[in-house]
């Protein structure tokens, strides 16, 4: 899904308006972004793959000047790296810049024709024919507006297109089967002139891009052309002026992209069945007992994981999977690993990072690479730095995550790490028993979302002085993640412990105002021992919330139970985490915290 922005009449704020507009289209996701501005010095273009922060970094110190500009953002879950493919695209002379959403179906013959005329192309995109077509029309003597019209007239397919041309203080736009909306700025009395004159004029694929500047919008229709200069002119295919009528939107920009949810985090929690389907799609064959992740890893003796935050908890889980398959594996905090690097030997080094831009993880991976290690990135972001720099990449395919607290991407990481261990080190027998459980994950997560009583538990304990989380084996990382989620967004003190470690110190903190969340799955020895820990806690009067599949006695000693469907304990860890996400969300919501943007925290930590 892509996003377009354009504006005229914002003076020195033009660049910032474009970048902010792209930020407001954030919910559409990014894997590349770019802007083009026309000023007194002609056309300047700045674009880069990566998140919007990468564009901001690239703009740093360059500040392309101009008062007329367009911008573009793009996201693909599966697509190839997009180095040269970022928008805006330009013509040979660098005088025409174009952004585009949609597909130009006849670009191949157009491109061949242009190449015969001597035009040179830099990318593989269909979009790039458009600036060259405009260039050709200009060379034929046409004025800018007719040149744009002539170029668009040759296109077949779906498009929303915006173009700027050096020397012209206008944006030219056209729409066919792809959304495009104009915004008319208000004058000092807050009144929008019908033709847009007097205030700034905006263009975007969706209203939130410019909603902070104006509520007055005009939806273009298929076949429409628009020219934005001091005002706005809309014409049909034949160049006849048409009146599309100005509407006033009443909602505010904050709400958009949340699809009816109060917070992105809640939306992303509920997207997990979809995200897990994406992660597993085409990668498992249950009936044959096969997992295929399309990676050709060299023979390795062991595995070292490097990661930070939530991704570190996923790494602890991943390391345990490899160890259970008989492969030595360890998870390291990336910030420690980078400066206190352990012996690597012939180990595979796996960096787990949602954004692919986490500075600590990148520097740990670079250190491993410098020492000759084979590296693998487990990430959500195509063409991120981690994706480009590592020898191999395993995408978790969770879709864009906006909430600072990671939820669906943790689920995606756990699912992807299961695929990795199944495809590389585990036996046919393990695959046969585990693949059905992995394929059941979307439905099992949905069952929790349908019936969870986490909100009631959050209501009961929102005033607690501290929260403790315990678990064993694969449930230990789940306990750590449960505590991290709660502290990140509720600002309450929360800690996770290995269940057996409780009595070696932390038990001193436990009292009647500190609920203990115990993750207990299955009926084996580990579960029985954790039930023993629950009894220890109960004896200190602490309320206990058991997260359990009902196959052990935890419910007999717990004050509350958060149920998860019965499944393979590995898959159960992921399910238990969903319940704890919901607890953290509701505690923070009850306390009125800014859940999507907690204080002091950033989504992608790009500094060490």
């Amino acid at each position: 899904m892509c996003g377009i922005i354009g504006c005229v009449g914002r003076g020195d704020d033009t660049l910032e308006t474009l970048v902010e507009g792209l930020a407001n289209l954030e919910y559409r996701g990014y894997d590349s972004a770019g802007v083009a501005l026309v000023g007194a010095d002609g056309l300047s273009v700045c674009k880069t793959e990566g998140e919007l922060s990468a564009l901001r970094d690239r703009l740093e110190g360059r500040d392309p000047a101009g008062t007329v500009g367009i911008g573009h953002t793009r996201w693909s879950t599966h697509g190839p790296p997009t180095d040269a493919n970022a928008h805006p695209h330009t013509d040979c002379a660098g005088e025409v810049a174009v952004v585009h959403n949609g597909i130009i179906e006849n670009y191949q013959p157009l491109r061949e024709e242009l190449e015969e005329q001597g035009h040179e192309f830099e990318s593989d995109t269909d979009t790039e024919v458009v600036p060259h077509l405009i260039e050709a029309a200009l060379a034929g003597g046409a004025r800018p507006e007719p040149a744009f019209r002539e170029a668009i007239g040759q296109l077949e397919g779906s498009y929303a297109i915006a173009a700027v041309i050096a020397g012209s203080r206008e944006i030219f736009a056209a729409r066919n089967d792809s959304p495009l909306v104009a915004g008319l700025g208000q004058d000092s009395e807050g009144v929008p002139p019908q033709d847009g004159t007097g205030g700034p004029v905006f263009l975007a694929s969706d209203v939130p891009a410019f909603r902070e500047h104006t509520p007055h919008v005009l939806y273009l229709e298929d076949g429409d052309f628009a020219t934005l200069d001091g005002g706005l002119t809309v014409t049909d295919t034949d160049g006849v002026a048409v009146d599309r009528g100005v509407e006033t939107v009443e909602w505010d920009a904050e709400q958009t992209g949340k699809s009816g949810y109060d917070h992105f985090m809640r939306k992303e929690i509920h997207e997990q069945p979809w995200a897990l389907r994406q992660c597993l799609s085409g990668r498992v064959d249950e009936l044959r007992g096969a997992a295929d992740i399309d990676l050709e890893l060299g023979a390795t003796l062991g595995v070292q994981f490097v990661a930070a935050g939530t991704s570190y908890h996923a790494s602890l889980y991943g390391a345990e999977l490899f160890r259970r398959a008989g492969v030595p594996a360890q998870a390291f905090l990336a910030s420690e690993y980078a400066t206190s690097t352990p012996p690597i030997g012939d180990d595979l080094v796996i960096g787990v990072t949602q954004s692919g831009e986490t500075a600590d993880t990148l520097s740990a991976l670079r250190e491993a690479d410098r020492r000759g290690a084979e590296t693998l990135a487990v990430t959500n972001t195509v063409s991120s730095t981690a994706d480009r720099e590592c020898d191999h990449t395993l995408l978790i395919r969770s879709g864009p995550e906006i909430g600072v607290a990671a939820t669906k991407t943790f689920a995606g990481q756990l699912a992807a790490l299961n695929l990795l261990s199944l495809a590389t080190v585990e036996s046919q027998h393990d695959r046969r028993t585990l693949l059905p459980a992995l394929r059941d994950l979307p439905g099992d997560v949905q069952a929790i979302l349908n019936d969870s009583n986490a909100e009631g538990i959050a209501d009961a304990y929102e005033d607690a002085s501290a929260y403790f989380f315990i678990g064993r084996g694969l449930q230990y990382p789940v306990a750590l993640e449960g505590a991290l989620k709660l502290k990140e967004i509720s600002y309450k003190h929360a800690e996770g412990f290995a269940a057996g470690e409780l009595k070696h110190g932390p038990l001193a903190l436990v009292e009647d105002s500190t609920p203990v969340f115990a993750v207990v799955l299955g009926s084996g020895e580990r579960a029985q021992k954790t039930v023993g820990n629950i009894k220890e806690v109960e004896a200190r009067d602490a309320p206990v919330v058991a997260v359990t599949d009902g196959r052990n006695d935890a419910h007999l000693y717990a004050d509350h139970v958060l149920e998860v469907p019965e499944t393979h304990p590995r898959a159960g860890a992921l399910l238990a985490n969903v319940q704890l996400q919901l607890v953290a969300y509701h505690v923070a919501d009850n306390l009125g915290r800014p859940i999507d943007k907690p204080r002091h925290l950033a989504k992608s930590v790009t500094v060490e």
Partner: protein, 397 residues
């Protein structure tokens, strides 16, 4: 004036479709391999709507999670109807989100894009007080029958006693903003505001134009109707994904064993797996991520996503919800049956069984024709069941 904003009413549960609506509203039930609402949104987008306002209520997150902030690049705004007090009440909730003329459509039955376009165009061109689509049906007693004179609606009769009428209300309307006040001025019946009551009142005072539409128009009233809906969708090829041979659609990421037999029409959704020697079809829809073992026979059935059918099972005229587990050698032979829903008995329905979400049917169990199994219910190994199993129920030998 053109109509480019559509309001979709998708807040109701559809109680007569219980137990399938336990976890989701009727618009999210499957029409073959995709939700009913997805077909509706396709029709709206294909008809040129560039803004969608979805009124959601019962289990609204299932709708929001599925469609997100936009569908096929058309932005969606969600409006919550927190109490389901009728279709008119639902529409009024969208009042602050629309300006100018709107197209209104029910989100729980399938319509053609051409029908949507015709209503939008007719309303824009003629500017009556309202425009509504009507369609010919031979069973008007299940719907709202409509009488016309000179292309204008003269009366709406909800669920008439006879099948003498020819035309029914197709649930697609063109309105302007005055509709909101008219709904609010309509007296409530049993506390509810039905959109059709408002239109019936409007007919007496002002001009309400009818647009005769044709083509696909299917609605599910009872659970077994999902079998008919699937058949219509399959017969008309309204299936996304590649058509492997005439009437056989297999998604790219689905894995169908080369020794499985697919008898058209059959649709297999992404990531589904079908084992060897299995026979699917005719009129079978296999949902996303469904697993069907070896030597299984499935005829005239809908299996919704994440369902798992064991080796050697036989399913005829069966509707499976999501995450249903059908054990090995389970037999649902199908055939005519008397089905009881609440106090009503429907005689001679062709229904094998309805299995609600997460129902678990143990190996070698037999479900007699017309059996309804509730959500999370368990039928243990080897049991023969006839009749109804309640939510969370357990049938043992």
């Amino acid at each position: 004036m053109t109509v480019t904003t559509a309001v979709v009413l998708a807040a109701g549960e559809g109680t007569r479709l219980r137990p399938l609506t336990h976890n989701r509203p009727k618009p999210m039930l499957p029409a073959a391999t995709r939700p009913i609402l997805e077909h509706v949104l396709d029709a709206l987008v294909d008809a040129g709507m560039d803004r969608l306002v979805l009124v959601v209520g019962y289990r609204r997150r299932r709708v929001q999670e599925k469609f997100g902030p936009d569908y096929r690049d058309v932005p969606i705004e969600y409006i919550e109807q927190s109490k389901q007090l009728g279709s008119g009440h639902a529409l009024v909730q969208a009042r602050d989100s629309v300006s100018g003329p709107v197209l209104v459509v029910n989100g729980d039955h399938l319509v053609e894009a051409s029908a949507v376009r015709e209503v939008a165009d007719a309303f824009a061109a003629d500017e009556p007080a309202a425009t509504m689509a009507v369609i010919e049906r031979d069973d008007p007693s299940r719907y709202g029958a409509v009488t016309l004179s000179d292309g204008q609606v003269t009366d709406i009769i909800e669920k008439p006693d006879t099948d003498d009428y020819q035309l029914i209300n197709a649930g697609i309307y063109g309105f302007d903003e005055a509709i909101f006040e008219r709904i609010e001025a309509t007296p409530r019946r049993d506390g509810e505001l039905a959109l059709t009551d408002t239109i019936a009142r409007l007919v007496e005072r002002q001009r309400v134009d009818a647009v005769r539409v044709s083509g696909l128009w299917v609605d599910a009233t009872y659970p077994w109707d999902l079998l008919t809906v699937a058949r219509s969708v399959l017969d008309r090829g309204r299936v996304s994904g590649p058509e492997r041979s005439a009437g056989v659609w297999v998604a790219e990421t689905a894995q169908v064993h080369e020794e499985a037999v697919l008898r058209p029409p059959v649709a297999v959704a992404p990531d589904a797996e079908v084992g060897p020697e299995t026979v699917l079809g005719p009129a079978v829809a296999v949902g996303r991520n469904v697993t069907i073992g070896a030597n299984t026979t499935v005829v005239r059935s809908v299996l919704d996503s994440d369902t798992r059918v064991g080796h050697g099972a036989t399913l005829v005229d069966t509707v499976c919800g999501q995450s249903v587990v059908v054990g090995v050698d389970v037999s649902v032979p199908g055939g005519p049956a008397d089905v009881r829903v609440d106090e009503r008995v429907f005689t001679d329905r062709r229904l094998g069984a309805v299995l609600a979400d997460r129902a678990h049917i143990g190996g070698a169990a037999t479900l007699e024709p017309g059996t309804l199994v509730g959500p999370d219910a368990t039928v243990e190994t080897g049991v023969t069941v006839d009749g109804q199993v309640p939510e969370n129920g357990r049938v043992v030998r």
